[in-house]
Every structure is written in C-alpha cells, then in structure tokens.
C-alpha cells in the first residue's frame, strides 16, 4: 500500500484509497505538483502542433487578413476597416445573409419536428437497430452524392418527383431552377440527409428519461398528449437545445449541396454566405474581403452558440 502511493503516477486525488496521504509533506508532494509534466508534454506534442499550426495561427491570420487588401499574388496591404465598411454596403452580402437565414430556418424547423417525431416513434414502437441504421443511411453518404441524387430525382424534365407530380395532376416544378424554390429545395435535401441522425440524438435523450415518470403519469390518468407536453418535452429540452446548437451552427455553413446543385443561382437566389466567401476568395482572388466575411460569419456563429448555451445551462438544472 505505501509503496503503491509512492509511485509518481498514482494520482492521489482521483484514487479514493490515497486520500489520506494527500497532505504528506516532503519530496512526494513536490513531484506531485509538477506531476508527469515531462511525459505529458511528449504525449500532447503532436496535438499541440496541429492546434497551433491549423487552428491558432490561421485564426489570428484570418483576423489580420480581414483588415487587408490581399489578392493571392503579392503581399497583403493594411487597409483598416475598409473591408468591413464595404461589406455593410454590399447588397450581395445582405442577400447572402438573407438566403442563409431562410435556409437555416427552413432546415432546422422541418428537421427538428420530423426528427422529434421519428425519435418518438423509435422510442415507442420501433426500437430495432435495423430501423435506426436504415434511417441513418443518408447521413453516412457524402453531401455531394446526396446532392447529385436529388438533383436527378428533382430534375424538371426527367426527375421522378416531377413525373409523379404530373401523374397526380400537379404542375411540374423547376425545383433547383426557380428563384422561389431553390432554397426550400436545398433545405429539404439536407433535411432528408440529416433527419435520421438528428432523430437518433433525440432518441438517446428520450432513453435517459426515467421510466417511472411515465408510469406515474399513466397512473394519474394523463392522456398521451398530456404526458408528452408535461413529461417528455420538459425533460427533453436540454437535449433538444444541444441538438439545436449543433445543427444550427452546422446549417449556417451549408456549402456542398449548393455548390454541386445550383452554384448560387438562379441569379443570387441560393448564394449562401459560405458560397459567397468561397467565390470572393477563389473566384475573385479577394482574400482580404473573403476573410472579413468569414470573421463576420464566425462572430454570428459564436453569438448563436453563446445564446443557445445560456439557454441550455438554464435548462440543465431542470433535469437534475
């Protein structure tokens, strides 16, 4: 026992057995303070390299570039806030923000409602792994593949969806090709891809709700609807908010689907913010402006996350 506690790696804090020896004075506690620093540095070294080279430095550099004029040739020239003031007057930017917001609202709205429904179904009737796996399938396939698949199925002339619609007597719709349908269509495609995944996250939350609460509600004679609103929803709220944080932040960054299907068109109807950043940087070689745009996107995402996290924290106490 004593020899055991003298070993440098035997974390006195975490092992309850060692609690009594924690305050021992002398050499052991001093090495305890530095602990395994040397070997720890060795173990985190590659991760730190990756962190500094591909997260930290790029973040600083991105902020710096946003204050410069920089085409990929030559050196960046400092121009202060010019990019930002230009962005505020840039109609295409406001259009891109509007389009992105429209996408986020449609995507998140439908996705959350459908996923919640699916999760309840999985929880109540269909617990099988096979069904869960099948629903997850679209999520495992690349965005590009999903986009191409739906681009084909929603084709104006040959797409099966329009074909079925004309059988039923509905007019054909140029899903990707009309200004009013482009964004709803892209939102729908991504709802299809993500609904099973989101449902699984919510399903995991449903399973953590203690069963006896349902039994009590049942004994009280509460109707299923009543039980849903007064037992399931309040207890599920933290999970729902967490799911929302993840999916909202993700959907603000929609790119693949748009780039493969409409490429921002028709006119500017589906030019989302990330596509606009991409086009500014690689289409027009305006890296300074593109960096300023991505700083703004970053700030928006941070705000969204912050607000949602506050909301999440407020609800966490409900569950405990």
């Amino acid at each position: 026992m004593t020899t055991l506690t003298k070993q440098p790696g035997s974390a006195p804090e975490r092992s309850r057995k060692n609690h009594g020896f924690k305050n021992q004075p002398g050499k052991r506690s001093r090495t305890g303070r530095l602990g395994d620093l040397k070997i720890a540095l060795f173990f985190i070294f590659p991760a730190v390299i990756g962190f500094v080279a591909f997260f930290l430095i790029p973040t600083i550099r991105g902020i710096y570039l946003s204050f410069t004029e920089y085409s990929i040739l030559g050196e960046p020239t400092w121009i202060g806030l010019k990019n930002y003031t230009a962005i505020f007057a840039d109609e295409l930017f406001w259009n891109a923000m509007g389009v992105t917001l429209q996408y986020v609202v449609l995507n998140i709205g439908f996705q959350t409602v459908i996923a919640l429904g699916l999760a309840l179904l999985m929880h109540r009737v269909a617990k099988s792994t096979f069904i869960r796996g099948a629903l997850l399938l679209p999520f495992l396939v690349a965005n590009v593949i999903v986009a191409l698949l739906w681009f084909w199925m929603l084709d104006y002339q040959l797409g099966i969806v329009n074909e079925i619609m004309s059988w039923v007597g509905l007019p054909r719709v140029a899903f990707f090709g009309s200004e009013q349908w482009a964004i709803p269509t892209i939102a729908f495609v991504n709802v299809w891809r993500h609904m099973g995944y989101t449902a699984l996250l919510i399903f995991a939350g449903l399973q953590s709700i203690p069963n006896h609460l349902y039994e009590v509600a049942n004994l009280d004679g509460a109707s299923p609807t009543r039980t849903f609103w007064s037992v399931t929803m309040p207890l599920l709220r933290p999970v729902l908010v967490l799911v929302l944080v993840v999916t909202v932040i993700g959907s603000f960054q929609v790119f693949d689907t748009v780039a493969v299907t409409t490429n921002g068109g028709p006119v500017n109807a589906s030019r989302v913010i990330q596509l606009y950043i991409y086009q500014k940087a690689f289409g027009e070689s305006d890296f300074g402006y593109a960096s300023a745009l991505s700083v703004i996107l970053f700030v928006i995402l941070a705000l969204v996350a912050f607000v949602q996290m506050k909301f999440l924290k407020g609800n966490e106490s409900d569950l405990d």
């Binding site: 974390a11 602990g35 620093l37 099948a134 199925m153």
Partner: protein, 311 residues
C-alpha cells in the same frame, strides 16, 4: 392484499377490449409512419440503382418507368473505365470521363492517412489529459475544446494560404495535414473513455517498472480498442465524405478524391445532356465503401451516435 389485487387490475386493464382497440390502432398508425419514413429514406437509393442500370438514351423516354429503362451495365462499365468514349457517347453519355480508379485510390489514401493520424495523435493527447497529472492540464484541455467552436470555413482560407506558401497545393500532404494531428472532438471522445478506466492495472504495471509509453501502448490502447475503433470508423466516414478542403487544395487530377471528382464530372458535361446513368453509377460506387463499412459495423455506429452527438 394490495399487492395481489394490483396485478389483477393491471391484467384486466390490458385485456378489456375497450382499452385494447384504440391502443392497437395507434400502434398500427405508428408503424405506418415508421414504414413511410423508411420508404422515404431508402427509395432514393433504389432509384439511384435503377438509374445506374438504365441506358441514358432510354431514360429520356422512360422517365417514370420504375424498372431500369433498357437495362444495361454500360454506366458501371463507363465509370470503371471499361468502356471507350465512343461507346459511352453511343450509349447516350456526354463523353465526359471520370477517372474512377485514380480517384478511388486518392480517396482511400486521404481517408486512411487522416483517420490513422488523427485517431492516434488524439489518443496520445487524450491519454495526457485523462491519465497524467500535470499543472495546467484542465486549462489546456479547455483551450482545445473551445476550438470545437471555430467553424472550418474560418480557418480554411488562412490554411489554404499556408499550404500554398509551403508549396503543398495539389499534394496529398497538403490535403491531409490539417486533419492529421487532432480534432478537439476526437480528444474529447477518447478522454471520456480513458477517464473511466481502472487505475489498478496501470499501477500494477508501474510497479513492474513500466514506463508511460508501454502503459499507453500495452494497456490503455488495447483496453480502449472498442471506442477507438468506433472513433476511427466515424472519422473515416467523415473524411471519405469531405468535400470543401479537397476542393480547395486537391483540384489536380493526381490527388483528386471521389467527392470532388463527381462534382467535376457533373459540371464538365453540358447542361441538359448530363450522363445521368453514369453519374448515378459513379455515386453508387463512391458510396459503396461506406455501405460496406456500415453493414459490417452499423451497430457500433448507431450505438455511438448518442454519445458523439456533441460532434
């Protein structure tokens, strides 16, 4: 007394017809909804297969036919490079080619290198955060975690410039480096498992004079084989499907991956004359490795989703 009446009440409750019927109908309705959801999920994949097995010229006149129109392996042959351009055009293809085998090789290399590096180096870091004691440990971990919030687009532009300045554009190294060392999520994921491991085996090994490297390789890694495999699987799928970064850095034919290759294939052919069966055959074959992985390890993926929800 009360305990004996309770189950009887319960029993009669269940068998009484007035209660059973509405419950049953609700179940039927629920199963109909489940079936509908499954159909909506799976039908597009079947449509993909049906299109891939059709010939392009027949697709135009048989848009609504549920079976392959003019059944043909031509599209698959075309994608796999077994059909000449003339044959492809005769079959209604646009003549745009997809260098499938090269892109497949690139996808395999890219996804394997980044998965192996990311999981291994993240496991090392997770070991330091979970099993070693050093000052500032939790602060450094918190800093790592906050990078989870940084959107990829934000670092993508400066990273692109860095890769360009290093002369690594259109190289496998340039494509892999940003993914190679860590993601905050991978470290977080493994740290949770390492934290829950019993210290006793480790302490016994310490007495034997084992060093941390040996503990890491011979005790921690083997004991965490299951979560590591799950993480590797999720990472591999994510990397296989990655589009944005390879689009920026790996445009050149020699390093082009399947996702980029497919979008180039689509954009190369003139609008309205897309080689639909070729495109669907290509997407099917590109998704095949994921389907196989999923069939083999689907249960693992499904069960880990609840945990990985933090992303």
């Amino acid at each position: 007394m009360t305990t004996s009446t309770m189950p009887r009440n319960h029993h009669s409750h269940r068998t009484s017809p007035s209660h059973k019927k509405p419950l049953n109908w609700r179940r039927v309705g629920a199963w109909v909804l489940v079936a509908a959801a499954l159909a909506v999920t799976i039908a597009p994949f079947l449509w993909m297969l049906r299109t891939a097995l059709s010939s392009n010229s027949a697709l135009a006149s048989n848009a609504g036919n549920l079976l392959p129109a003019d059944f043909s392996w031509g599209a698959f042959k075309r994608v796999l490079g077994l059909q000449s351009t003339e044959e492809a055009i005769a079959d209604g293809g646009s003549g745009a080619a997809i260098n499938f085998w090269l892109y497949l090789r690139n996808s395999i290399i890219f996804a394997s290198i980044t998965t192996a590096g990311q999981v291994f180096f993240s496991a090392m870091a997770a070991y330091a955060f979970a099993r070693l004691r050093w000052p500032g440990r939790n602060k450094v971990f918190a800093v790592f975690l906050t990078t989870m919030m940084v959107p990829p687009i934000f670092t993508a532009l400066p990273n692109f410039l860095m890769i360009k300045n290093l002369g690594l554009l259109n190289t496998m190294a340039g494509m892999s480096l940003p993914f190679l060392f860590m993601t905050p999520f991978a470290i977080f994921f493994l740290r949770q498992f390492f934290l829950s491991m019993s210290r006793e085996v480790e302490e016994a090994a310490m007495l034997d004079g084992a060093k941390h490297l040996r503990i890491f390789f011979q005790i921690v890694l083997p004991n965490a084989a299951a979560p590591i495999a799950t993480l590797a699987l999720l990472t591999f799928i994510g990397q296989w499907n990655e589009y944005f970064w390879p689009l920026l850095v790996g445009q050149d034919e020699n390093v082009r991956v399947l996702t980029v290759g497919l979008s180039v294939f689509k954009s190369q052919s003139p609008q309205g004359a897309l080689d639909w069966s070729g495109l669907m055959a290509g997407t099917l074959v590109a998704a095949l490795p994921i389907f196989i992985l999923f069939i083999a390890f689907g249960k693992k993926v499904v069960n880990s989703i609840g945990f990985s929800g933090i992303k």
